[in-house]
Protein backbone atom coordinates (compact mmCIF):
# COMPACT_ATOMS: atom_id res chain seq x y z
CA UNK A 1 0.00 0.00 0.00
CA UNK A 2 1.40 3.32 -0.94
CA UNK A 3 0.65 6.98 -0.81
CA UNK A 4 1.86 10.32 -2.01
CA UNK A 5 1.17 13.78 -0.65
CA UNK A 6 0.75 16.73 -2.97
CA UNK A 7 2.95 19.09 -1.00
CA UNK A 8 1.90 22.02 -3.13
CA UNK A 9 -1.53 21.66 -1.58
CA UNK A 10 -0.44 20.60 1.89
CA UNK A 11 -0.76 23.43 4.39
CA UNK A 12 1.09 21.72 7.19
CA UNK A 13 -2.00 21.48 9.39
CA UNK A 14 -0.51 18.23 10.74
CA UNK A 15 -3.90 16.57 10.98
CA UNK A 16 -2.41 13.53 9.29
CA UNK A 17 0.59 13.38 11.62
CA UNK A 18 -1.83 13.34 14.54
CA UNK A 19 -3.90 10.49 13.11
CA UNK A 20 -1.12 8.38 11.58
CA UNK A 21 2.11 9.33 13.34
CA UNK A 22 3.97 6.30 11.95
CA UNK A 23 3.49 7.54 8.41
CA UNK A 24 3.42 11.33 8.58
CA UNK A 25 5.62 13.70 10.57
CA UNK A 26 6.27 17.39 10.58
CA UNK A 27 9.83 18.40 9.95
CA UNK A 28 10.54 21.78 11.46
CA UNK A 29 7.66 24.24 11.66
CA UNK A 30 5.53 23.27 8.69
CA UNK A 31 7.27 20.87 6.32
CA UNK A 32 5.67 17.45 6.07
CA UNK A 33 7.60 14.22 5.64
CA UNK A 34 5.84 10.96 4.87
CA UNK A 35 6.71 7.38 4.08
CA UNK A 36 5.41 6.34 0.68
CA UNK A 37 4.87 2.66 1.49
CA UNK A 38 2.99 1.57 4.54
CA UNK A 39 1.89 -1.61 6.19
CA UNK A 40 -1.55 -3.21 6.03
CA UNK A 41 -1.72 -2.77 9.82
CA UNK A 42 -1.73 1.01 9.37
CA UNK A 43 -4.51 0.98 6.83
CA UNK A 44 -7.20 2.40 9.12
CA UNK A 45 -4.94 5.15 10.39
CA UNK A 46 -3.91 6.17 6.90
CA UNK A 47 -7.48 6.11 5.63
CA UNK A 48 -8.49 8.38 8.47
CA UNK A 49 -5.60 10.71 7.82
CA UNK A 50 -6.44 10.95 4.12
CA UNK A 51 -10.07 11.65 4.92
CA UNK A 52 -9.20 14.23 7.56
CA UNK A 53 -6.75 16.24 5.48
CA UNK A 54 -8.49 19.60 5.07
CA UNK A 55 -7.05 20.16 1.59
CA UNK A 56 -7.32 16.55 0.35
CA UNK A 57 -3.61 16.41 -0.40
CA UNK A 58 -3.11 12.73 0.40
CA UNK A 59 -3.48 10.21 -2.43
CA UNK A 60 -3.56 6.60 -1.30
CA UNK A 61 -3.94 3.34 -3.15
CA UNK A 62 -4.47 0.01 -1.56
CA UNK A 63 -3.45 -2.09 -4.52
CA UNK A 64 -0.08 -3.67 -4.95
CA UNK A 65 -0.73 -5.20 -8.32
CA UNK A 66 2.56 -6.01 -9.95
CA UNK A 67 3.58 -4.18 -13.08
CA UNK A 68 4.30 -6.73 -15.76
CA UNK A 69 6.60 -6.07 -18.66
CA UNK A 70 9.96 -5.14 -17.14
CA UNK A 71 12.80 -6.22 -19.38
CA UNK A 72 14.87 -6.70 -16.24
CA UNK A 73 17.75 -4.54 -17.21
CA UNK A 74 18.23 -1.20 -18.84
CA UNK A 75 18.44 -1.75 -22.58
Amino acid sequence: MRLVVDLNRCQGFAQCAFLAPDVFALHGGEALLFTSRFDEALRDQVEQAAAACPVQAILVDFSDEPTKGAEGRVG
Partner: protein
Protein backbone atom coordinates in the same frame (compact mmCIF):
# COMPACT_ATOMS: atom_id res chain seq x y z
CA UNK B 1 -6.81 9.24 -37.11
CA UNK B 2 -6.13 12.91 -37.07
CA UNK B 3 -9.48 14.39 -38.07
CA UNK B 4 -11.99 15.15 -35.33
CA UNK B 5 -14.43 12.68 -36.83
CA UNK B 6 -12.09 9.85 -35.93
CA UNK B 7 -12.10 10.69 -32.24
CA UNK B 8 -14.80 8.17 -31.46
CA UNK B 9 -12.91 5.37 -33.15
CA UNK B 10 -9.71 6.47 -31.44
CA UNK B 11 -11.30 6.29 -28.03
CA UNK B 12 -12.63 2.82 -28.73
CA UNK B 13 -9.80 1.07 -30.46
CA UNK B 14 -6.96 3.51 -30.97
CA UNK B 15 -3.35 2.85 -30.02
CA UNK B 16 -1.70 5.23 -27.61
CA UNK B 17 1.99 5.06 -26.76
CA UNK B 18 3.44 6.95 -23.82
CA UNK B 19 7.23 7.28 -23.81
CA UNK B 20 8.57 8.01 -20.32
CA UNK B 21 7.04 5.91 -17.54
CA UNK B 22 7.26 8.24 -14.58
CA UNK B 23 5.00 10.77 -12.87
CA UNK B 24 3.64 12.47 -15.99
CA UNK B 25 3.36 9.21 -17.94
CA UNK B 26 1.42 7.45 -15.19
CA UNK B 27 -0.99 10.30 -14.51
CA UNK B 28 -1.66 10.67 -18.23
CA UNK B 29 -2.37 6.96 -18.55
CA UNK B 30 -4.83 7.10 -15.66
CA UNK B 31 -6.59 10.09 -17.20
CA UNK B 32 -6.88 8.35 -20.57
CA UNK B 33 -8.71 5.45 -18.95
CA UNK B 34 -10.77 7.81 -16.78
CA UNK B 35 -11.99 9.50 -19.92
CA UNK B 36 -13.15 6.26 -21.42
CA UNK B 37 -10.27 5.29 -23.65
CA UNK B 38 -10.57 1.54 -24.26
CA UNK B 39 -7.92 1.06 -26.93
CA UNK B 40 -4.40 -0.24 -26.43
CA UNK B 41 -2.11 1.70 -24.12
CA UNK B 42 1.64 1.13 -23.96
CA UNK B 43 4.02 2.74 -21.48
CA UNK B 44 7.70 2.74 -22.35
CA UNK B 45 10.30 3.51 -19.71
CA UNK B 46 14.05 3.12 -19.80
CA UNK B 47 14.28 2.58 -16.05
CA UNK B 48 13.45 -0.97 -14.98
CA UNK B 49 11.00 0.28 -12.34
CA UNK B 50 7.35 1.17 -12.31
CA UNK B 51 6.70 4.92 -11.88
CA UNK B 52 8.06 6.28 -8.63
CA UNK B 53 8.15 9.59 -6.83
CA UNK B 54 11.34 11.64 -7.08
CA UNK B 55 11.01 14.42 -4.46
CA UNK B 56 11.61 12.00 -1.54
CA UNK B 57 14.89 10.90 -3.13
CA UNK B 58 16.71 14.00 -1.89
CA UNK B 59 14.77 14.19 1.38
CA UNK B 60 13.21 11.21 3.23
CA UNK B 61 15.32 8.61 1.46
CA UNK B 62 18.68 10.23 2.20
CA UNK B 63 17.59 10.82 5.78
CA UNK B 64 16.95 7.08 6.06
CA UNK B 65 13.24 7.50 6.78
CA UNK B 66 12.31 5.29 3.86
CA UNK B 67 14.00 3.14 1.23
CA UNK B 68 14.47 4.31 -2.34
CA UNK B 69 12.69 1.12 -3.47
CA UNK B 70 9.57 2.13 -1.57
CA UNK B 71 8.80 5.30 -3.49
CA UNK B 72 6.53 3.73 -6.15
CA UNK B 73 3.65 6.07 -6.90
CA UNK B 74 0.15 5.11 -5.83
CA UNK B 75 -2.35 4.42 -8.58
CA UNK B 76 -5.60 6.25 -8.83
CA UNK B 77 -7.07 3.43 -10.92
CA UNK B 78 -6.26 0.39 -13.04
CA UNK B 79 -4.79 1.38 -16.34
CA UNK B 80 -4.61 -1.95 -18.12
CA UNK B 81 -1.44 -0.97 -19.91
CA UNK B 82 1.28 -2.88 -21.64
CA UNK B 83 4.42 -1.90 -19.80
CA UNK B 84 7.73 -1.85 -21.61
CA UNK B 85 10.12 -1.11 -18.78
CA UNK B 86 13.90 -1.18 -18.86
CA UNK B 87 13.92 -0.42 -22.57
CA UNK B 88 14.48 3.04 -24.02
CA UNK B 89 12.81 4.58 -27.02
CA UNK B 90 15.51 5.24 -29.60
CA UNK B 91 13.66 6.99 -32.38
CA UNK B 92 10.43 8.29 -33.80
CA UNK B 93 9.23 7.92 -37.38
CA UNK B 94 6.36 10.36 -37.84
CA UNK B 95 5.58 9.25 -41.36
CA UNK B 96 5.22 5.60 -40.37
CA UNK B 97 3.71 6.67 -37.03
CA UNK B 98 5.83 4.41 -34.91
CA UNK B 99 8.29 4.57 -32.05
CA UNK B 100 11.46 2.51 -32.34
CA UNK B 101 12.89 0.94 -29.20
CA UNK B 102 16.57 0.24 -28.54
CA UNK B 103 15.92 -3.51 -28.75
CA UNK B 104 14.67 -3.08 -32.32
CA UNK B 105 10.93 -3.37 -31.57
CA UNK B 106 8.62 -0.83 -33.12
CA UNK B 107 5.42 0.43 -31.53
CA UNK B 108 2.83 1.86 -33.91
CA UNK B 109 0.68 4.66 -32.50
CA UNK B 110 -2.35 6.77 -33.31
CA UNK B 111 -1.44 9.18 -30.54
CA UNK B 112 1.97 9.57 -28.91
CA UNK B 113 2.70 11.23 -25.58
CA UNK B 114 6.25 12.30 -24.81
CA UNK B 115 7.04 12.39 -21.08
CA UNK B 116 10.74 11.57 -21.05
CA UNK B 117 11.62 14.19 -18.43
CA UNK B 118 15.19 15.14 -17.69
CA UNK B 119 18.38 13.57 -16.49
CA UNK B 120 21.04 14.94 -14.17
CA UNK B 121 23.71 17.00 -15.89
CA UNK B 122 26.85 14.89 -15.47
CA UNK B 123 30.21 16.18 -14.28
CA UNK B 124 31.90 17.73 -17.30
CA UNK B 125 35.05 15.60 -17.08
CA UNK B 126 34.14 11.94 -17.79
CA UNK B 127 37.19 10.40 -16.10
CA UNK B 128 36.63 12.44 -12.96
CA UNK B 129 32.92 11.66 -13.07
CA UNK B 130 33.79 7.95 -13.00
CA UNK B 131 35.74 8.21 -9.73
CA UNK B 132 34.38 6.19 -6.85
CA UNK B 133 32.58 8.72 -4.64
CA UNK B 134 31.23 11.01 -7.37
CA UNK B 135 27.42 11.04 -7.56
CA UNK B 136 24.49 12.68 -9.27
CA UNK B 137 20.92 12.47 -7.95
CA UNK B 138 17.99 11.95 -10.27
CA UNK B 139 16.91 8.33 -10.05
CA UNK B 140 15.95 5.77 -7.44
CA UNK B 141 19.27 4.01 -8.00
CA UNK B 142 21.23 7.26 -7.56
CA UNK B 143 19.46 7.89 -4.29
CA UNK B 144 20.00 4.36 -2.96
CA UNK B 145 23.71 4.55 -3.77
CA UNK B 146 24.15 7.97 -2.20
CA UNK B 147 22.23 6.86 0.88
CA UNK B 148 24.59 3.91 1.38
CA UNK B 149 27.57 6.18 1.03
CA UNK B 150 26.22 8.70 3.55
CA UNK B 151 25.35 5.88 5.94
CA UNK B 152 28.95 4.67 5.78
CA UNK B 153 30.00 7.93 7.43
CA UNK B 154 32.10 9.86 4.93
CA UNK B 155 34.60 12.38 6.30
CA UNK B 156 33.40 15.22 4.12
CA UNK B 157 30.85 15.57 1.34
CA UNK B 158 31.18 18.17 -1.38
CA UNK B 159 27.99 19.38 -2.99
CA UNK B 160 28.64 21.02 -6.34
CA UNK B 161 25.89 23.51 -7.13
CA UNK B 162 23.47 25.00 -4.60
CA UNK B 163 20.16 24.80 -6.40
CA UNK B 164 17.24 23.01 -4.73
CA UNK B 165 18.62 19.50 -4.98
CA UNK B 166 22.11 20.51 -3.86
CA UNK B 167 20.75 22.50 -0.92
CA UNK B 168 18.49 19.62 0.14
CA UNK B 169 21.45 17.24 0.09
CA UNK B 170 23.54 19.64 2.15
CA UNK B 171 20.69 19.85 4.64
CA UNK B 172 20.47 16.06 4.91
CA UNK B 173 24.22 15.84 5.49
CA UNK B 174 24.04 18.23 8.42
CA UNK B 175 21.07 16.40 9.85
CA UNK B 176 23.10 13.21 9.67
CA UNK B 177 26.03 15.01 11.24
CA UNK B 178 28.19 14.65 8.15
CA UNK B 179 30.60 17.49 7.33
CA UNK B 180 29.63 19.16 4.08
CA UNK B 181 31.05 21.82 1.80
CA UNK B 182 28.82 23.44 -0.77
CA UNK B 183 30.48 25.10 -3.77
CA UNK B 184 28.32 27.48 -5.79
CA UNK B 185 29.36 29.64 -8.71
CA UNK B 186 26.68 32.25 -7.99
CA UNK B 187 26.81 34.63 -5.01
CA UNK B 188 24.33 32.53 -2.95
CA UNK B 189 22.29 29.30 -3.01
CA UNK B 190 19.00 29.25 -4.98
CA UNK B 191 19.86 32.51 -6.75
CA UNK B 192 18.70 31.24 -10.14
CA UNK B 193 15.27 30.35 -8.78
CA UNK B 194 14.56 33.09 -6.24
CA UNK B 195 17.02 35.95 -6.80
CA UNK B 196 19.78 37.17 -4.54
CA UNK B 197 17.64 39.00 -1.98
CA UNK B 198 15.89 35.80 -0.93
CA UNK B 199 18.96 33.68 -1.62
CA UNK B 200 20.81 35.56 1.11
CA UNK B 201 18.43 33.96 3.60
CA UNK B 202 19.16 30.53 2.13
CA UNK B 203 22.88 31.21 2.53
CA UNK B 204 22.41 32.17 6.16
CA UNK B 205 20.39 29.01 6.80
CA UNK B 206 23.19 26.89 5.43
CA UNK B 207 25.90 28.59 7.47
CA UNK B 208 23.81 28.55 10.66
CA UNK B 209 23.53 24.80 10.28
CA UNK B 210 27.25 24.31 9.92
CA UNK B 211 27.55 24.01 6.15
CA UNK B 212 30.89 25.18 4.79
CA UNK B 213 29.27 27.30 2.07
CA UNK B 214 31.56 28.72 -0.57
CA UNK B 215 29.95 31.03 -3.09
CA UNK B 216 31.39 32.75 -6.11
CA UNK B 217 33.64 29.76 -6.78
CA UNK B 218 33.44 26.79 -9.07
CA UNK B 219 34.94 23.36 -8.75
CA UNK B 220 37.61 23.03 -11.40
CA UNK B 221 38.77 19.44 -10.91
CA UNK B 222 38.10 16.28 -8.93
CA UNK B 223 41.15 14.26 -8.01
CA UNK B 224 41.28 10.56 -7.27
CA UNK B 225 43.77 8.28 -5.54
CA UNK B 226 45.54 5.49 -7.46
CA UNK B 227 42.66 3.12 -6.66
CA UNK B 228 40.21 5.47 -8.40
CA UNK B 229 38.57 6.82 -5.25
CA UNK B 230 37.75 10.49 -4.98
CA UNK B 231 39.96 12.22 -2.44
CA UNK B 232 40.23 15.93 -3.25
CA UNK B 233 38.45 18.73 -5.08
CA UNK B 234 40.08 21.83 -6.56
CA UNK B 235 38.29 25.17 -6.62
CA UNK B 236 38.60 28.17 -8.91
CA UNK B 237 39.93 30.32 -6.04
CA UNK B 238 43.01 28.10 -5.91
CA UNK B 239 41.98 26.20 -2.78
CA UNK B 240 41.55 22.44 -2.48
CA UNK B 241 39.35 20.41 -0.14
CA UNK B 242 39.80 16.81 0.98
CA UNK B 243 36.53 15.02 0.28
CA UNK B 244 35.50 11.43 -0.22
CA UNK B 245 32.07 12.14 -1.68
CA UNK B 246 31.06 14.71 -4.28
CA UNK B 247 27.47 15.15 -5.41
CA UNK B 248 27.17 16.92 -8.74
CA UNK B 249 24.00 19.07 -8.63
CA UNK B 250 24.38 21.13 -11.77
CA UNK B 251 20.83 20.95 -12.97
CA UNK B 252 19.14 18.79 -15.52
CA UNK B 253 19.29 17.98 -19.22
CA UNK B 254 16.11 17.27 -21.11
CA UNK B 255 15.78 13.77 -22.54
CA UNK B 256 15.20 14.65 -26.17
CA UNK B 257 18.10 12.93 -27.96
CA UNK B 258 15.87 10.06 -29.00
CA UNK B 259 13.79 12.55 -31.03
CA UNK B 260 16.72 13.63 -33.18
CA UNK B 261 15.79 13.32 -36.83
CA UNK B 262 12.07 13.11 -36.05
CA UNK B 263 11.44 16.63 -37.35
CA UNK B 264 9.90 17.73 -34.06
CA UNK B 265 10.82 20.99 -32.34
CA UNK B 266 12.78 19.10 -29.72
CA UNK B 267 16.19 20.08 -28.45
CA UNK B 268 18.18 20.85 -25.32
CA UNK B 269 15.49 23.29 -24.12
CA UNK B 270 12.83 20.60 -24.32
CA UNK B 271 9.98 19.67 -26.62
CA UNK B 272 8.03 22.72 -27.73
CA UNK B 273 4.27 22.41 -27.62
CA UNK B 274 1.23 24.65 -27.67
CA UNK B 275 -0.84 25.47 -24.59
CA UNK B 276 -2.84 22.32 -25.29
CA UNK B 277 0.32 20.14 -25.12
CA UNK B 278 0.39 19.45 -28.86
CA UNK B 279 3.98 19.24 -30.03
CA UNK B 280 5.31 21.57 -32.73
CA UNK B 281 7.35 20.30 -35.60
CA UNK B 282 10.65 21.94 -36.44
CA UNK B 283 8.87 24.44 -38.69
CA UNK B 284 6.56 25.60 -35.93
CA UNK B 285 3.56 23.70 -37.28
CA UNK B 286 1.51 22.00 -34.64
CA UNK B 287 1.11 18.23 -34.86
CA UNK B 288 -2.22 16.72 -34.02
CA UNK B 289 -1.12 13.27 -32.93
CA UNK B 290 1.93 13.99 -30.75
CA UNK B 291 1.73 15.50 -27.28
CA UNK B 292 4.22 16.29 -24.53
CA UNK B 293 3.97 16.82 -20.78
CA UNK B 294 6.12 17.19 -17.68
CA UNK B 295 9.74 18.20 -17.30
CA UNK B 296 10.54 17.57 -20.95
CA UNK B 297 7.88 19.93 -22.31
CA UNK B 298 8.03 23.67 -22.83
CA UNK B 299 4.93 25.59 -23.65
CA UNK B 300 3.59 29.14 -23.81
CA UNK B 301 1.68 30.46 -20.82
CA UNK B 302 -0.80 33.35 -21.15
CA UNK B 303 -0.19 34.62 -17.62
CA UNK B 304 3.48 35.01 -18.39
CA UNK B 305 3.36 36.81 -21.69
CA UNK B 306 3.08 33.58 -23.71
CA UNK B 307 6.73 32.96 -23.03
CA UNK B 308 7.68 29.33 -23.43
CA UNK B 309 8.16 27.98 -19.93
CA UNK B 310 9.81 24.76 -19.09
CA UNK B 311 9.13 23.71 -15.54
CA UNK B 312 10.82 21.09 -13.43
CA UNK B 313 7.99 20.84 -10.93
CA UNK B 314 6.10 17.84 -9.64
CA UNK B 315 2.74 19.63 -9.79
CA UNK B 316 3.31 20.70 -13.37
CA UNK B 317 3.96 17.12 -14.45
CA UNK B 318 0.68 15.99 -12.87
CA UNK B 319 -1.45 18.78 -14.31
CA UNK B 320 0.08 18.91 -17.75
CA UNK B 321 -0.21 15.14 -18.10
CA UNK B 322 -3.93 15.35 -17.38
CA UNK B 323 -4.45 18.11 -19.93
CA UNK B 324 -2.44 16.28 -22.57
CA UNK B 325 -4.39 13.07 -22.04
CA UNK B 326 -7.71 14.90 -22.19
CA UNK B 327 -6.79 16.76 -25.38
CA UNK B 328 -5.55 13.63 -27.10
CA UNK B 329 -9.00 12.14 -26.98
CA UNK B 330 -11.04 15.20 -27.95
CA UNK B 331 -12.35 17.06 -30.90
CA UNK B 332 -10.48 20.35 -31.36
CA UNK B 333 -13.34 22.40 -29.91
CA UNK B 334 -13.21 20.48 -26.62
CA UNK B 335 -9.51 20.88 -25.97
CA UNK B 336 -8.30 22.65 -22.87
CA UNK B 337 -5.20 24.78 -22.30
CA UNK B 338 -2.64 24.03 -19.60
CA UNK B 339 -3.10 27.15 -17.49
CA UNK B 340 -1.67 25.80 -14.26
CA UNK B 341 0.18 28.41 -12.26
CA UNK B 342 3.73 27.10 -11.63
CA UNK B 343 4.22 25.95 -8.06
CA UNK B 344 6.80 23.98 -6.15
CA UNK B 345 8.09 23.19 -2.69
CA UNK B 346 11.37 22.27 -1.10
CA UNK B 347 12.40 21.32 2.42
CA UNK B 348 15.81 22.20 3.71
CA UNK B 349 17.28 22.89 7.13
CA UNK B 350 13.83 22.29 8.59
CA UNK B 351 12.35 25.15 6.55
CA UNK B 352 9.46 24.70 4.16
CA UNK B 353 10.18 26.70 1.01
CA UNK B 354 7.38 27.18 -1.47
CA UNK B 355 6.92 29.21 -4.57
CA UNK B 356 4.05 30.09 -6.87
CA UNK B 357 4.23 31.89 -10.19
CA UNK B 358 7.45 32.61 -12.05
CA UNK B 359 9.86 34.46 -9.71
CA UNK B 360 12.55 34.62 -12.39
CA UNK B 361 10.44 37.07 -14.37
CA UNK B 362 10.32 39.42 -11.38
CA UNK B 363 11.79 42.89 -11.74
CA UNK B 364 10.80 44.00 -8.22
CA UNK B 365 10.29 42.38 -4.85
CA UNK B 366 8.68 43.21 -1.52
CA UNK B 367 8.60 41.23 1.68
CA UNK B 368 4.87 41.26 2.33
CA UNK B 369 4.67 39.02 5.39
CA UNK B 370 7.23 38.30 8.07
CA UNK B 371 10.84 39.35 7.82
CA UNK B 372 13.88 38.10 5.97
CA UNK B 373 16.01 37.89 9.09
CA UNK B 374 13.48 35.63 10.81
CA UNK B 375 13.50 33.15 7.92
CA UNK B 376 9.70 33.19 8.02
CA UNK B 377 8.32 35.41 5.31
CA UNK B 378 6.61 35.78 1.98
CA UNK B 379 8.50 37.57 -0.77
CA UNK B 380 6.24 38.86 -3.52
CA UNK B 381 7.66 39.43 -7.00
CA UNK B 382 6.39 42.07 -9.38
CA UNK B 383 6.74 42.31 -13.11
CA UNK B 384 5.92 45.57 -14.85
CA UNK B 385 3.56 46.63 -12.13
CA UNK B 386 1.70 43.41 -11.45
CA UNK B 387 2.15 40.48 -9.10
CA UNK B 388 3.96 37.68 -10.93
CA UNK B 389 5.14 35.31 -8.16
CA UNK B 390 5.54 34.73 -4.45
CA UNK B 391 8.01 32.65 -2.48
CA UNK B 392 7.55 31.67 1.14
CA UNK B 393 9.84 30.40 3.86
CA UNK B 394 7.74 28.65 6.52
CA UNK B 395 4.70 30.67 5.52
CA UNK B 396 3.11 28.36 2.95
CA UNK B 397 -0.43 29.11 4.03
CA UNK B 398 -0.24 32.43 2.20
CA UNK B 399 0.52 31.06 -1.21
CA UNK B 400 -3.06 30.28 -2.19
CA UNK B 401 -3.82 33.96 -1.71
CA UNK B 402 -0.92 35.00 -3.92
CA UNK B 403 -1.89 32.48 -6.54
CA UNK B 404 -5.20 34.32 -6.84
CA UNK B 405 -3.37 37.64 -7.05
CA UNK B 406 -1.19 36.31 -9.86
CA UNK B 407 -4.16 34.90 -11.75
CA UNK B 408 -6.01 38.19 -11.37
CA UNK B 409 -3.02 40.24 -12.53
CA UNK B 410 -3.19 42.22 -9.27
CA UNK B 411 -1.14 45.44 -9.16
CA UNK B 412 2.37 45.50 -7.73
CA UNK B 413 3.53 46.68 -5.25
CA UNK B 414 0.67 45.08 -3.34
CA UNK B 415 -1.40 47.23 -1.06
CA UNK B 416 -2.31 45.02 1.82
CA UNK B 417 -0.39 46.29 4.75
CA UNK B 418 -3.42 45.16 6.73
CA UNK B 419 -2.46 41.56 6.15
CA UNK B 420 0.62 41.83 8.30
CA UNK B 421 0.75 44.89 10.49
CA UNK B 422 4.49 44.69 10.96
CA UNK B 423 4.97 45.49 7.32
CA UNK B 424 4.33 49.22 7.47
CA UNK B 425 6.41 50.00 4.42
CA UNK B 426 6.34 47.79 1.40
CA UNK B 427 9.45 49.14 -0.24
CA UNK B 428 10.10 47.39 -3.56
CA UNK B 429 13.66 46.32 -4.22
CA UNK B 430 15.36 44.59 -7.13
CA UNK B 431 15.11 40.82 -6.50
CA UNK B 432 18.60 40.58 -8.05
CA UNK B 433 18.40 37.71 -10.47
CA UNK B 434 21.58 36.82 -12.29
CA UNK B 435 21.89 38.00 -15.86
CA UNK B 436 19.50 35.68 -17.74
CA UNK B 437 22.08 35.22 -20.46
CA UNK B 438 24.41 33.48 -18.03
CA UNK B 439 23.51 29.83 -17.58
CA UNK B 440 22.52 28.90 -14.04
CA UNK B 441 22.59 25.49 -12.50
CA UNK B 442 19.07 24.88 -11.47
CA UNK B 443 16.57 27.62 -12.05
CA UNK B 444 13.69 25.06 -12.04
CA UNK B 445 11.76 27.42 -14.31
CA UNK B 446 13.33 28.43 -17.55
CA UNK B 447 11.82 31.08 -19.73
CA UNK B 448 12.74 29.69 -23.09
CA UNK B 449 10.86 31.95 -25.46
CA UNK B 450 12.91 33.85 -27.97
CA UNK B 451 13.04 37.58 -28.05
CA UNK B 452 12.10 39.06 -31.44
CA UNK B 453 15.66 40.20 -32.00
CA UNK B 454 16.80 36.58 -32.02
CA UNK B 455 14.48 35.57 -34.83
CA UNK B 456 15.90 33.71 -37.78
CA UNK B 457 14.10 31.43 -40.19
CA UNK B 458 15.29 28.21 -41.69
CA UNK B 459 13.04 25.68 -43.38
CA UNK B 460 13.64 22.13 -42.17
CA UNK B 461 12.61 19.46 -44.64
CA UNK B 462 11.13 16.29 -43.18
CA UNK B 463 13.75 13.58 -42.71
CA UNK B 464 16.40 15.94 -43.99
Amino acid sequence: MSADGDVKALRRKGRIVVVGASLAGLRAAETLRDQGFTGSLTLVGDEPYEPYDRPPLSKQVLLGLECAEDTALPRTRDIDAEWRLGVAAAGLDRAAKDVRLVNGDTLPYDRLLITTGTKARPWFHPEEAALDGVFVLRTRDDSARLFRKLAAGPRRVLVIGAGFTGSEIASVCRERDVEVTVAERAPAPLVGALGEVVATVAARLQRDHGVDLRCGVSVTALEGDPAGRLRRAHLSDGSAIDVDVAVVCLGALRNTEWLAGSGLAAGPRGVACDAGCRVFDANGIVTDDIYAAGDVARCPHPLFGYQFLSLEHWGNAVEQARIAAHNMLCASTDRRPHLWVPMFWSVQFGVNIKSVGVPTLGDQLVVAQGALDEARFVAVYGYRGRVIAAASFDAGKWLGFYQQQIEAGAPFPPDYALVDRRTDTLQPVDPAFPDPHLPTHEPTVTVTGHSPTERRVQFVAPHA
